[in-house]
C-alpha cells in the first residue's frame, strides 16, 4: 500500500481531496520520506508488516477511536474492554505469534486504548522473577486469560521509594504459607492497572518477613477474585480508585489484604527462596527484583511516551500550515502560522526531540536486549548500567515529551483545547508517565548517585586504567578537552564535536561541583544523608545535564551512521543541531558560568539556532509525515493527512450528544421558571 493511501484512513468525504496549503508543503521533497519511514521502523519489511496490521483496523466501527471522545469514563472503559476482546479474536484468527511485532503494531493502531495493559506487564514480571516451575504454572494461564493478573506495587502512601512499602508477607512455617497483609490504610495498594474491576490475581510486592527477619521487597502471586463469579475472595477489598486526568482504559484500582494466606510456592523465587523451615536463600543481587520495572520502563517509552510526542508534532505541524493568521507583507494573503518565527520556535524543538528520543530509544533497546539476555543466563554484571540508563532515559524522555506535547497543544490556539484536536488526550496520557514507574525527581537522584559513585572512582583509582573501568555512559568524565570552547563563528556551532563537547564539559563540571559540595558538607561534619539532601538540587541539575549529553551523543552517533543516505542524514543532522543548541540557549547560564562559552559565543549559538528554524521549517511537514501515523490512529480533527481541518472539526462536533436534539431540558427546568416568576412580578 502506498504511504499516502495508508495514512488517509478515515474514509470520509474530505479524504479524497488534499488541501492545497498542505499539498504545497509536500511538493518540495528534499529527501525520500518513505526511506525515512523505513529507517524509523528499523527496516522496510517492518514498514510493510506494520501497514498490513494497521489496515486491519480500518473499517470496523468497533475499533473507531473518535467515538471515545464523547463517552463517559465508564463507557470508555467498556469500549476499551471490547476492543481488547476483538483484538484477541483477531490475533487468534490470524495466528499472530505471541511475542511478534504484530501485537505491538495493533496496539499502535488502537493508540493503546485497550484494557489489560498491566496484565501483560504482570505476565512479564512472572517470567523475569519466577522459577522455571512457576513460569510453567502461571504463564500459560495468563496467556490464555484463564487468570487476569495485575502488578501491585505502589501503595496509597508509598510510591517510588520502594523500601517504604508497608504491605507484609510473613512466613508461617507451621502451614508453609505466607500471610499477606495491609497493616495500615496507607499500605492499601493504589493505582495498579487492571486491578479496579478486572484482575483475578495480583503480583503483590511486599516486605518479606521470615524467621523474624525483614528481607526486603519480594513478589507474591495472590488470588484476589473468585474464578467462578469474579467476586472478591475472603480477606480482599478491591475496587476502582476514581476518576483521573486520563487513562480511562487503565482500570486503576485499590487492594487491601487482610491476613490473606497463599502457599509458599506463590513467592516468585528466581532470585530468592524461602525453604519450608523458613530459611531464606538469596540467589541473585537485590537489584534483580527490579528487573520487571526496567522492562516496563523501556516498553512505556517506546510504546506510549515517544509516540505521544510524535503524534502531537504531526497534528500541530499540519494544523500550522492550514491555519492562517495575520500578514507577513501587507500585499500577501494571510500567512500560514508555521511561517512565524515564534511558531517555529515552539514546534520545531518538539520535532527535534521526537527524533532525538527515537534514536536514544533504539540504542537503549539494543543495550537492553544485550543485558537482558545476560541476566537470563544469570549474569547480572550489566544490570547497574542498564538500570541507570533506563532510569535516566525514563526521567528525561517523560519530562521532555510531556513538555513537548503540551507545547504543541498550546501552539494550536483555542482548538488545541478541544478534545477533538486529539491533543488533550495525548497530553494526559504522557504526563502520567512523569510519575508512574518512578517519579522523575527520584529517578534523577538515582542517576546522580551513579554519577557520584563513578566520579569518586576516578579519584580513587587514578591512573592509566581508570577510564577502562568506567561504564561507557560516563567515560566523558575523563575526556581531555579545552577550558574554553574554540568556536569562532555561528557556523562552528553546527559542528557536532563543538556542541557535544560543550555538553560533555558542562555535565562533567556540574557533576564535579556537586561532588565537591557533598565533600565540603561531609568534611564540615554533616552526616551523609543530610549532606546528600542539602546537595540534591545541584545533583538533580547535574543528572539532567548528563542525560541531555547522553541524548545529544546518541543522536549524533545515529546521524553519523547514515552516510549511505546523505539526504536523510542532512535533515536529521539539522534536527540534532537544533536539539543540542536549544538546550544550550535554554540554560545558557551553566555554559557561561565558568567561561566555557563567552557572551559572544552564546550570541553565535542564537544566530545558528534561528537559522536552523527557517531551514527545518521547509521540511517540517515531511518530517512529521515520516512517522507514518494513520489518520485513524492520530484521531485528530486538526491533524489529518489531507489538511481539511475545519470541515472535519465541524462534522465531528455534530457527534456531541448535546447536539442530538435542539431541546434543552436543563434550560426548561431551571431558567424558564425563573423568567415566569419575574413575569408575574412585573
Amino acid at each position: 500500500m502506498s504511504s499516502r493511501a495508508h495514512r488517509v484512513s478515515l474514509g470520509d468525504s474530505w479524504s479524497q481531496r488534499v488541501h492545497p496549503d498542505i499539498e504545497s508543503e509536500r511538493r518540495r521533497q528534499a529527501f525520500d520520506v518513505e526511506r525515512l519511514t523505513n529507517l524509523l521502523d528499523r527496516g522496510a519489511r517492518n514498514t510493510t508488516l506494520r501497514r498490513e496490521v494497521e489496515s486491519l483496523f480500518r473499517s470496523d466501527p468497533a475499533f473507531s477511536l473518535v467515538n471515545t471522545y464523547f463517552m463517559t469514563q465508564k463507557e470508555h472503559f467498556q469500549a476499551a474492554a471490547q476492543k481488547r476482546f476483538l483484538l484477541h479474536k483477531m490475533a487468534q484468527r490470524l495466528n499472530w505469534p505471541e511475542d511478534g511485532l504484530e501485537i505491538d503494531y495493533a496496539r499502535r493502531a488502537l493508540s493503546g486504548d485497550i484494557i489489560l495493559g498491566v496484565h501483560t506487564v504482570a505476565t512479564k514480571a512472572i517470567i523475569s522473577l519466577g522459577s522455571e516451575e512457576q513460569i510453567a504454572k502461571w504463564v500459560p494461564l495468563c496467556k490464555t486469560y484463564q487468570i487476569i493478573a495485575t502488578y501491585a506495587q505502589t501503595e496509597m502512601g508509598h510510591g517510588s521509594y520502594l523500601q517504604g512499602l508497608e504491605t507484609e508477607a510473613t512466613y508461617d512455617a507451621a502451614t508453609q504459607e505466607f500471610v499477606i497483609h495491609s497493616p495500615t490504610i496507607t499500605a492499601t495498594k493504589w493505582w495498579p492497572g487492571d486491578l479496579g474491576c478486572l484482575a483475578t490475581h495480583a503480583i503483590v510486592m511486599a516486605q518479606l518477613i521470615c524467621s523474624g527477619a525483614k528481607r526486603g521487597m519480594h513478589a507474591f502471586v495472590v488470588p484476589i477474585r473468585s474464578p467462578q463469579d469474579h467476586t472478591p475472595l475472603p480477606g480482599i477489598t478491591a475496587g476502582d480508585i476514581g476518576p483521573r486526568m486520563g487513562l480511562e482504559n487503565a482500570d486503576n484500582g485499590f487492594l487491601q489484604l487482610d491476613h490473606v494466606r497463599v502457599p509458599r510456592e506463590n513467592m516468585l523465587s528466581r532470585f530468592a527462596q524461602v525453604l519450608p523451615d523458613g530459611t531464606y536463600i538469596r540467589c541473585g543481587t537485590a537489584q534483580s527484583n527490579y528487573l520487571p520495572m526496567v522492562v516496563t520502563r523501556v516498553d512505556i517509552l517506546t510504546s506510549v511516551v515517544l509516540p505521544s510526542l510524535q503524534k502531537a508534532c504531526v497534528i500541530a505541524t499540519r494544523y500550522s500550515v492550514i491555519r492562517r493568521q495575520g500578514r507577513l507583507r501587507p500585499s500577501d494573503p494571510e500567512a500560514k502560522i508555521l511561517d512565524y518565527q515564534t511558531q517555529q520556535q515552539k514546534l520545531l524543538f518538539p520535532l527535534a526531540m521526537s527524533y532525538a528520543f527515537h534514536f536514544q530509544a533504539v540504542s537503549l533497546l539494543e543495550f537492553f536486549q544485550h543485558a537482558y539476555n545476560a541476566v537470563q543466563s544469570n549474569d547480572t554484571s550489566l544490570l547497574p548500567e542498564l538500570h541507570v540508563l533506563t532510569t535516566g532515559s525514563k526521567a528525561m524522555m517523560t519530562d521532555f515529551c510531556a513538555y513537548g506535547v503540551e507545547l504543541c497543544r498550546r501552539a494550536c490556539g483555542g482548538h488545541g483545547y478541544s478534545k477533538l484536536s486529539g491533543l488533550p488526550s495525548l497530553a494526559t496520557q504522557v504526563v502520567a508517565s512523569c510519575t508512574y514507574e518512578g517519579e522523575n525527581t527520584v529517578l534523577y537522584l538515582q542517576v546522580a548517585r551513579f554519577l557520584m559513585k563513578n566520579y569518586q572512582q576516578i579519584w580513587e583509582t587514578e591512573g592509566a586504567h581508570s577510564q577502562r573501568s568506567l561504564p561507557q555512559s560516563v567515560q566523558y568524565f575523563t575526556m581531555v578537552h579545552h577550558d574554553k570552547c574554540p568556536a569562532q563563528n555561528a557556523s562552528d556551532f553546527l559542528l557536532p564535536e563543538i556542541y557535544t563537547t560543550a555538553w560533555a564539559h558542562t555535565a562533567a563540571r556540574l557533576v564535579e561541583d556537586s561532588a565537591r559540595h557533598l565533600q565540603v558538607l561531609t568534611q564540615s561534619g554533616a552526616d551523609q544523608q543530610d549532606a546528600w539532601n542539602q546537595t540534591s538540587v545541584s545533583l538533580v541539575q547535574a543528572a539532567k545535564a548528563h542525560c541531555y549529553y547522553v541524548t545529544v551523543k546518541s543522536f549524533q552517533d545515529a546521524v553519523k551512521k547514515l552516510d549511505s543516505e546523505p539526504a536523510i542524514q542532512l535533515v536529521l543532522k539539522r534536527l540534532c543541531d537544533l536539539f543540542a543548541l536549544h538546550g544550550i540557549l535554554a540554560d545558557s547560564g551553566i555554559f557561561l558560568y565558568d567561561g566555557f562559552l563567552s557572551g559572544p559565543q552564546v550570541d553565535m549559538v542564537r544566530t545558528a539556532y534561528l537559522d536552523l528554524l527557517s531551514l527545518i521549517r521547509k521540511d517540517a511537514v515531511l518530517l512529521t509525515d515520516a512517522f507514518d501515523f494513520t489518520d485513524q490512529c492520530l484521531n485528530s480533527a486538526l491533524g489529518c493527512y489531507d489538511g481539511n481541518v475545519y470541515e472535519r472539526l465541524f462534522q465531528w462536533a455534530q457527534m456531541s450528544p448535546n447536539n442530538n436534539s435542539q431541546e434543552n431540558p436543563a434550560y426548561k427546568k431551571y431558567i424558564q421558571p425563573l423568567i415566569r416568576s419575574h413575569g408575574s412580578k412585573l
Binding site: Q78, S160, Q341, T435, V540
Partner: protein, 660 residues
Amino acid sequence: MNPDLRRERAAATFNPELITHLLDGSPEKTRRRREIENKILSDPDFQHENHNFLTRSERYEAAIKKSAVMVKKMREFGIADPDEIMWFKSFVHRGQPEPLDLHLGMFLPTLLQQATAEQQERFFMPAWNLEITGTYAQTEMGHGTHLRGLETTATYDPKTQEFIINSPTVTSIKWWPGGLGKTSNHAIVLAQLITQGKCYGLHAFIVPIREIGTHKPLPGITVGDIGPKFGYEEMDNGYLKMDNYRIPRENMLMKYAQVKPDGTYVKPVSNKLTYGTMVFVRSFLVGAAAQSLSKACTIAIRYSAVRHQSEIKPGEPEPQVDFQTQQYKLFPILATAYAFQFVGSYMKDTYHRINESIGQGDLSELPELHALTAGLKAFTTWTANAGIEECRLACGGHGYSHCSGIPNIYVTFTPACTFEGENTVMMLQTARFLMKVYDQVQSGKLVHGLVSYLNDLPSQRIQPQQVAVWPTVVDINNPDSLTEIYKLRAARLIDIAAKSLQGEMSHRKSKEVAWNLTSVGLVRATDAHCHYVVVKLFADKLLKIQDKTIQAVLRNLFLLYSLYGISQKAGDFLQGNIMTGSQITQVNQRVLELLAVIRPNAVALVDAFDYKDITLGSVLGRYDGNVYENLFEWAKKSPLNKTEVHESYHKYLKPLQSKL
C-alpha cells in the same frame, strides 16, 4: 487535625490572618468575603454531588441549576459591588466556569457600554431578568486573536433598514463562545460592517438566535455544541452559523459608531474606547493567574507536609516538604503566587484609576495600560500554567487523580493562555509598544511610567562585551538592588532586539519580514520587561507593609522570587555582565538558604490564602490534613464501584476465557 499540620501551624513565626487581610485589602473586606462565603456554603440550594463523579451533561445541568438560583439570590442579598459579585459567583460555582458566565460577564457589560439609551431600554431589563440570555460571539473557527481576519459580515440593506448577517465560509462559523451551545437565545455578534459598498471593520450586533419560549433555533440560524474539551465541562461552548440572517438596523450597538437609515456610516469619536473591555478582562486575568496558582500551591504544600515518603535518614521518615528538591519545586511557586497576587491588585487599582481619567476624557495613559496588560497577561498566565502543573507533579501519582483537585485547576486555567489574546501575540503587542518607546528615547524624548528606565539607555550604551561597573553594586539581599539588575537585564534585551530589528530592516527587508525575523528576540525582551515589572511591584508593595513580622516574611518571599529568577535566567545576567560567575554562585547559595528560612512558615503562608476545603476541591489539600482516610472514602464514590462485579467481566472477560 493531622499532627504534622498542627506542628507546622504552631511553628509559624507570624499570624496568617494578618496576611489574609493584606491580600483582601482590609480586615473589613476579609470579614465581608467570609460572610458571603458562609452564606453560600450553608445554603441547601447550592449543594450538589461532587462534580468529579458526574458526566458532562450532569455537570452542565448542576451548573445551570445553581446559576439560576444564584442570579435570584444575589439580588435578594443585595450584592452589587463588582468584587462581591465576583466572590459570590466563584463561591457558588467553586471556581468552575458556568453557562451564564458570558451572559453576566460579557453580554450585560457590553450592553451597558455600547448600547444607546433606546437599546438599553429594549434589551437590558429582559437580559437582567434572564428572559434574554446572551453570549458574546467573536472568535470564529478559522480566526482568533487576529481580529481583522474575522469573516462574518453584516451588510446593510437600506431598503428594509436591516443588516444581513452572514457566515460566508466554514472558517467563518462562530466557534467557542461560552453559553452558545445550548443556553443562549441572543448573541452579540462581531462582524465586518459593510454599508454603501464599503467595509468599515468590526462592529457589534445583537442577534436573536433562539425563539423565546420554545428555545428552538430561529430560521437561518444553525447553532450547537462544539463537543468535548480538556476542561470546561459545565460550559456549553458553541458554534453559530448565520445564513443571510436579517436583523433590524436598531440591533447594531450604536453608542459610538452608527449607521443612519440611509446607510451613511458615522465614525466613533475614538476607537481606543473599545480597548476598555479588553484591558479590563486582561487585567482581571492577572488576578486569576494568582488565584489559580495560590490554590495549586495550597494543595501541594499541605500535602507535602503530611506525606512521609522516603527517608532522609534511615528510620526517620521525614515529611516530603523537608526534602530540598521538593522545597525547590514548591517555594519559588509560592513566592510567585504572592508576587502575582500583588501585581493583580495593582492592575485592578490601575484599571480603575485610569478608567476614571477616561471618564473625564483623558486617554493619555491608555496606550501604556493596554501594552502593560497584554504583556503581563501573557507573562503571568504562562508562569501560572507551568506552576500549576509543577504543583501537580510535586504531589506524585495522586496529583494525577481528580482527588487532588489540581487537574481541574489546570484544565480550567490553561485556556487563559489562549483566550482574550493568544499569549505570543500579546507579548508581541507589548514588544511593539516597547519598540516605539525605544525609538522615542533614541530621538531624545523623555518617556514616563514603568518604561521610564529606558530613558537611561543612550547614556548606558550597553554593549554585549563591555566590562561594566555594575557587578560591584549588586547587593543580593537588597530589594532596590535586585530591582535595578532586573531593569538592566530588560534594558539590555530591549536594546538588542531593537538593534537586530534595525539590522534586518537595513538589509532592505520589509518592516513585516524584519519584525518576524526578530520576533523570538522581541518576545524574550518583553518577557524580561514583564519580569522586571513584577519584581518592581513586589518591591514597592514591601515598602507599604506596616507590620514588621509580616514584612519580614514577605521580604523573604520577595528575595526568593527575585533570586530564583536570576538563577533560572543566569545566562542573561552573565552575558550582559550584569553579574559575575561568583555572584551567580552566591545567588544559587542564597536561594537554598532561603528555602530553609521559608520552610517553617510554608504551611502558614498557604493558610493565609484562606481557601475553604470546598473551594479547593481537593482531598490532598484538606485543611485538617487527614488525607488518606478521605482518599479512600472519595474513591468509594466512583461510579465503577457501584457494583461488586463490573459488567465488562461478563461481557468480555468470560468469553475471552471460554474461547479456548
